[in-house]
Amino acid sequence: MKRFRRQFFLGMLALIAATMAALWLHKRFCALPDYAFLTGWILFAVMLVLTFFNARKKLPFLALGKAETWLQIHIYLGFFTVVLFLIHLNFRAPHGWFEITLAWLFALVSASGVVGLFFSRTLPRRLATRGGEAIFEKIPALRHALKTGAENLALGKEAKSPVIAEFYTRQLAPFFEGPKNFWLHTFESRRPVSALLAELDDLRRFTNEAERATLDKLAALVRQKDGLDYHRALQLTLKLWLFVHIPLTYGLLVFTVLHIVLVFGFSGGVQ
């Protein structure tokens, strides 16, 4: 969509302009004796603005502007924070244990943000392309329904085919039991379901007409279960990256506050 492309170009333009401006200011002012305090506070303030995006999500009823705008700011300000961070470090690697930890936390939070951005921009398209929609919290219930359906087909009162029953207990039951193939789904591999369907197809040679109808139904259920697993895998990925990004953000903030206390406490000016 053009809307997003324009947004992207404007954002990149702003980012590049801000970076250039920051570097120019850095060159201009880096000799200030308290320069690190200055850049540090700016960096901290920007980090707080970034963190406030989380708070904005928790306060949707206050008219704090559209979350879309916030995210755009969050993304580009996030990239800019990396520039600020490097400026604050004066483009040198940190030395002490504490500062190395702090820098690593920062790096991890930034990197997880970039990864999350990548996920958020690519996975939805894959989900939409695959088709079907399932609300994440409903997936266990759906899976249970599929499992019950398959069980009834293969082992229920009306099922009279030992071939199918045997195949079900051997191959399909574990497949329907729980979420499967998380990694393969994330990497868009359809190997397992194809293999399973091929085996189902293979079974047709040993079955009669009625059993074949059951096999068709089972195959449909297998496909649905696979689609469900796919949705679960991708939707989970879309949520899991935040398990790194958000907790570490708060860890980073704790370390940052201590860092501020330390740099002031150990600054030469303490009397």
């Binding site: 969509m1 809307r3 008219a63 879309e68 995210l71 939805p124 929609e133």
Partner: protein, 575 residues
Amino acid sequence: MPAAPTILERPQRWDAAFDPDMTDAALDRLLATAPFRDMDAEKFPKRTPLREILRNDSRIRRFRQGEIIVRQGDYGTSAFLILRGATRVVLKPHLPPALLGRQSPGKKGFFRTLAQLWNGSRPAETFSRTRLRQAAGLGARQTKNEVHVFLQDLPRVMDEHRTEQMTGGDFFGEIAALSRMARTSTIFADSDDAELLEIRWQGLRDLMKYDDALRTHVNKIYRERALSSYLNATPMFQHLTKEQVDRVAEQIEFATYGDYDWSGEYKRLAQSGSVQPEKEPVIAQEGDYPNGVVLLRAGFARISQKLGGGERTLNYIGAGQLFGLREISHNWRNKDSPVNLQFSLRAIGYTHLLIVPTRVMEEIVLPSLPKNELPEAIEIVKDELGSQPVAEKGAREKVGAEILEFLTENRLFNATASMVIDLDRCTRCDDCVRACASTHDNNPRFLRHGPTSGSLMVANACLHCADPVCMIGCPTGAIHRESFAGQVVINPDTCIGCKACFNNCPYDAIRMVEIRDETGEFMVDQEMKPIAKATKCDLCVESHGGPACERACPHGALTRINLNNLDALSKWLKP
């Protein structure tokens, strides 16, 4: 799993009588009173005799003093004839919303907005008892199977508002019933013995068809009260003098198509998968001589074209839009090469329309239009297969055939604020639902799921229909249009949980929730049955800054969009 098709008989006229308990004695009494006394029963066809029309399409209702019969702003399907007693109509200014059981319009104050900060852990659907007990200036009486709402403090209402009495033999509500427009005023019973005959619109339509006096009467009222001002506001008639407008108004014909309560039936048909354009009532048929320009006043119609054995939807038109002008204008300008209608027009659900006859168009309207406002002439492209009408441009190009079919099939063009989600962008984070919940006391008011076409999902959130079928039949007026911006909202205080709106809504946008007290226990009535309330999206009418769902979407994947015309959607899809 392909489900076995549910075989369903299309509901026939009079399958369900308006009042199954209508007695012959009552019918005899009716036929002996005006205006039925004066009707010529011979003129009615055998399949729909006068007596049967009355038996099936009318019912007798009794009201006591102060009981509201129709509410200003409500949508109604029926007209009323006063049989006995008196009623009183409230003239402008209208009664305040609270008196009609509605929510008082307004935004949340600062503290209520702030209070949402700590409401996060409240149990779902919590209502405080005190809030439910608050008298809203009206009370309700439960009779056999209907609820009558009455105005409390009637003397004060009479004192503060200008009213006018109506007595036996007066008709009211016929325009709202026929044209599917909101009731223009509130009418309540003015005596304890008021007896009214309520005629549903199908009956009224048939009565008008076969009784000249009634037709003349209704047409007269219609033309007097509603038409002139409407025509004056229509662009096509901008260049006419007042006398010319009056002449057009005299000759204009109006018609209703489809089924007024299409929603319930539609839901069943949609579920059985048998929604087909071919089965919709035809307003004008492709290839026919154009009788006149069709002006849609209410409802929706589908413009389609024959393609192979079926019909291809080209566009749909809603209130205020025209059909057939191009052909008539072409014929008027090129008298030697007349064309027939290029497309068919079919009513979707319910349609109320005006027809300006071709003769009137040619004599009065077309000569008044400047050249640049006339539509282009039609070029007939002949190829080996014969004549192919030109395809209607626009809609298809705007959003693509697939989405157009999708919107039409699901009748989503009714929406003024449908929730459209771009699944290519949506990360399924549910921020929209959470935002909705926190603006509504920790309760979501929509379901992030719904019909999907490609990467477009229309979630089950209230569409705030242009034609809100949910508002038909609410006994307390709890569901109503917000007076400022026209959002359809439900006042939970006056909702009695009768499910009328829930059953009417074809989009699954209304949900009946069982309410709880502050401790999280279900509230029950004396029967220990849970108390249910109809709930739905209110477009954050009380909050500042517009719908929270749209504002909460971090990826710009969700929008509330007007589907009455496709400009907004096409702009959103490819700006």
